[in-house]
Amino acid sequence: MKKMDESGQIILIAAFIIGIGIVVLTVMLNNIVYASNTASESSIETNVFDYSNVVQTTTEAYEKAYNGSNYGNNSVIFNAYMENYSEKMVRSYSLSGFIFSLENDTLQDAYFTENGLADGNDDWVVIERVNSTDSFLLDKLNVSSLGNESNKFVIEVNNHSGSKQWSASVYNSSGTITISVSNQTTSIGNYTSASGFINTTENQFRFLDNTAGQTYTIKFINGSHSMGTFRIAGKLVNGNDFHIERVHIVNSTMKLNKNGHLEINSTIPITLPKGHI
């Protein structure tokens, strides 16, 4: 009996050890699985999608507001539209947990840079893959904001292989707005504009002759050396119409704030009436 009791003690201890060991292992496994669970439930971020949505709808809202306000002259209608839009956006986003706010400056006159501001991109492609241009107008050119001949603002038209088909340089030559037009081989002529309005598709500039039947790209170079408005409309190679027009720009500041742990704040100059393609 004594021997049996002593043998029983070892079985007992071994059983306890095995038991404790299995429990400890199980608890550790539990921790690993639980930790993987909790950490992988980290938030799925959609803020970039929300941000691009905000940029897109706000740009559209400005364009619609501007269209109904007689080129920005009726600021009551413009502001009323933007008030309505802003209020609905604030309410809609607050239901999704975002605090949205929109502020804008007054309408400003624009330079011929990419974003319309004086410090924007000087050289940029306005529209590419153009099949035909129906209207190409420049207006509100001002001698005081035009550079002289060494700082001229150039409109360049290149075909699809990059060679220049037509170009016009606009500069201030001793107090007169001078346009110097040339095609890929020769100079077509120098013209002046007293009113600050240029209709590029007029016969004298020979724009349509030099670009007929080709696929071309319109570029602005040295855009910061001139202020003014422009409008280009026509057809693209794929058959769609295009229409870019810049009369004013408005600096719009958008803020998105979520739960206090994410904030996006950006200022975008919006080209009005129609900037993007």
Partner: protein
Amino acid sequence: MALIIVIGVIVFTVQATSLTPLTSSTANAHIEAQLQILGQDMLTVLDHSKSGQNSSLKEDILNWDGEKYTWNSTEYVSQNNNILLNSSTSDLLKAVIVPKGIAHNVEFCIINDGGTTTTLPYIYNGEPSDNAVIVSRRVLLSNSDIQDIPLFRSETGIYDADTSTDFYNLIDVKMTLWRM
């Protein structure tokens, strides 16, 4: 005696093993993330406006006749037996979501003046399960977008928030996705 204790320890450890969380909850988090990204991508594609025209999503809202469409394994059919045609949303859903067996609802939400929301179902396939994912996209409607405003108002129920300006309303398109 020893046998009793050994058996007791074994029973205790077996019971302790079943305290670990089941792995199905891990799977849920990954599936939800996948559905969210899928839904966001679809709405982004639908809301892309090319050449400055209205996006496909906006066209679908403007062409909506106000009825609630349900999937009947071949088409989206409303209660009056109208088939949903000419809708990029339904085409995209048919091509991408239906073959994967993911159930979906598409609803348009507008906020009333008092601050409450009105939810108008466009495509409705039942109440979502617990692991459903909602993705949303805001679309702006202006008076100049709509051809016949009284008809649009009476068919869809989306009203003009401000009759004195071109602003019509802001619609929150909510797509709910869940695995059946």
